[in-house]
């Protein structure tokens, strides 16, 4: 028995808000998700009762704070089925997590002429760090192409991976919604002797995640897309890999010893957590993970398949060829993120008209310019659904789009 999104929505105070006397239709969760009362309360309660420095003070309050922070780490481990708690490193966000791997693993292991393989559907966060490293070290980047319906074209994958040191790819496209065959990609990377880095930013908030079943080497994701606060993200990595990597940022907490002539690193995970971390945010992320887990990630996925199927059918039935939805049309192959082109109206104008009906969608290049170039568009409009979105929100989107057609007279 699945959950009712209308009931779930009542947990999200912001979604109760009206703007200009009308309810909000929030369809921008691929950008960032809204926060349930449970997360807001957990963070407030923590700051009111238990906030203190972690890992460095002997008093009881500091011990409580440290326990809360470490409980969040343990919750993340369970959420992604990581083998060990200390493999979970807290970062600022998924972007920082990917930069950490590129900078730290990359600087220790990559030399001029080495190959990094990416895909054509990556977010800038999984492109630019590699460009930076490629410029610095003389690396070669190779790109896995896409099929016409926005899936990875794997026909040349063995050749692309030949001699590669890294294969870094998204588990779900933030533009197309496409789910990638993560296990297959990880196996292909390993067969070629490369490590597999998974960008889970879009995938983890919406699907059951099991890094051991994937066999992946690294996974990056953010809290703010899974109903938690912004300001905290996760890098999970295999212990042996993390152990062999040099530190990323230097400072307090990440050291075992500092002398005038050098320093010694702390053990995992502190080695990669320089400075005071986002403590309250970790507590909030823990509450978010508990919230999602209570719904059940299988149920979250099932709900999103349903709402995606409904939205695609609705939009196609009403607008036919006037609307182009990018990416796979089969909901089994995609998440609930729908990028679309509507008539010849620019996405910025589409989103402006939708805003009049409080329908919140993203318009732009979605930080994926190489993919946009492939789509032949500078921008798309993107509606993304989550646990609090029902089929009524898809109806509201379809209704509001009619106004755009009327206004521009196309």
């Amino acid at each position: 028995m699945n959950f009712d999104p209308v009931v779930v929505k009542k947990d999200f105070p912001l979604l109760e808000r009206e703007v200009n006397g009308k309810p909000l239709v929030y369809l921008d969760s691929a950008n960032t998700s809204q926060k349930p009362r449970q997360v807001i309360d957990a963070m407030s309660r923590f700051m009111e009762t238990s906030y203190a420095p972690i890992n460095r003070s002997a008093y009881q309050l500091a011990a409580e704070s440290t326990d809360a922070f470490e409980a969040a780490r343990a919750a993340v481990r369970r959420f992604i089925n990581a083998p060990k708690v200390h493999e979970v490193v807290f970062t600022k966000n998924a972007t920082e997590a990917l930069n950490l791997v590129a900078h730290s693993w990359g600087s220790a292991n990559l030399r001029a002429g080495d190959v990094v393989v990416l895909t054509h559907m990556e977010h800038h966060a999984n492109i630019v760090p590699w460009h930076m490293l490629a410029t610095e070290r003389g690396l070669k980047l190779r790109w896995v192409p896409l099929t016409a319906d926005g899936q990875l074209d794997l026909t040349t994958l063995p050749e692309l991976l030949d001699g590669a040191k890294i294969f870094a790819f998204t588990a779900m496209s933030n533009v197309l919604g496409t789910l990638t065959p993560v296990k297959q990609l990880v196996d292909a990377a390993h067969a070629a002797g490369a490590i597999a880095i998974v960008d889970g930013c879009q995938y983890v908030p919406h699907n059951p995640t099991d890094v051991q079943a994937w066999g992946a080497d690294f996974l990056a994701f953010s809290s703010h897309k899974l109903c938690g606060p912004s300001g905290i993200g996760v890098l999970w990595g295999r212990e042996a890999l993390l152990d062999a990597m040099p530190p990323f940022l230097g400072g307090g907490n990440m050291i075992a010893d500092v002398r005038l002539d050098g320093f010694t690193c702390a053990e995992l995970p502190a080695k990669f957590e320089a400075g005071t971390p986002p403590i309250t945010e970790a507590v909030g992320m823990h509450a978010a993970i508990s919230y999602l887990s209570s719904l059940g990630m299988d149920n979250v996925r099932e709900h999103e398949v349903e709402v995606t199927a409904y939205a695609i059918d609705k939009l196609k039935a009403r607008y036919g060829d006037d609307i182009t939805i990018h990416g796979p049309t089969d909901p089994a192959l995609r998440g609930a993120t729908l990028s679309f082109k509507f008539k010849d109206i620019h996405p910025h104008d589409v989103s402006q008209v939708l805003d009049q009906a409080n329908v919140c969608v993203r318009a732009g290049h979605h930080c994926a310019k190489p993919l946009m170039k492939l789509l032949g568009a500078n921008a798309t409009a993107r509606a993304s659904f989550y646990i609090y979105n029902s089929t009524a929100d898809a109806d509201a989107l379809a209704d509001a789009l009619a106004n755009a057609g009327d206004l521009f007279g196309f």
């Binding site: 620019h346 910025h348 009049q356 290049h365 946009m372 500078n378």
Partner: protein, 149 residues
């Protein structure tokens, strides 16, 4: 709440549907390029500047109705005008968009001439997210004028 009619005035939609001065100019015309990193809009402004006068202007690129119509209206407003007058017009336009003067020592604005069609873009100010769309062409024009010096 401001209504869409404040933003999408008929004259704006007219310039959007039928943009003026579209195309390219061959060298030695100046070519300037502008990007709106938020939405991915791109614009190219080509300028022929002779004896301190913009004798021809062409606009290329893609964008939303506001950025495209603003570029179209701009091209019509500056063609055949002296550079000094155009620089004054750019300042007036940005002023209308509620953008602070960058140069605190700039000479006083000459507001003696009517803005004409450009007045239609005044409503953009009520939609702050779109101000960058409206000013993209103008900033690119400034870049082109600087290059032509």
């Amino acid at each position: 709440m401001p209504g869409l009619e404040d933003l999408y005035r008929e004259i704006i939609l007219d310039h959007y549907r039928t943009p003026r001065n579209q195309g390219e100019l061959p060298p030695p015309a100046v070519r300037a390029e502008g990007h709106n990193p938020l939405c991915g809009d791109e614009i190219q402004v080509y300028l022929d500047v002779q004896d301190g006068i913009v004798t021809d202007i062409k606009i290329g690129g893609q964008g939303c109705s506001i950025s495209q119509s603003s570029a179209s209206m701009m091209s019509a407003a500056v063609k055949g005008k002296p550079v000094a007058e155009i620089r004054n017009l750019v300042r007036r336009f940005k002023n209308m968009m509620s953008i602070e003067e960058e140069d605190g020592n700039a000479p006083p604005l000459d507001e003696s001439r009517p803005l004409g069609d450009l007045e239609a873009l005044r409503g953009v100010v009520k939609f702050p997210v779109r101000i960058k769309c409206a000013t993209l062409a103008w900033n690119t024009l400034l870049d082109g004028l600087d290059q032509s010096n």
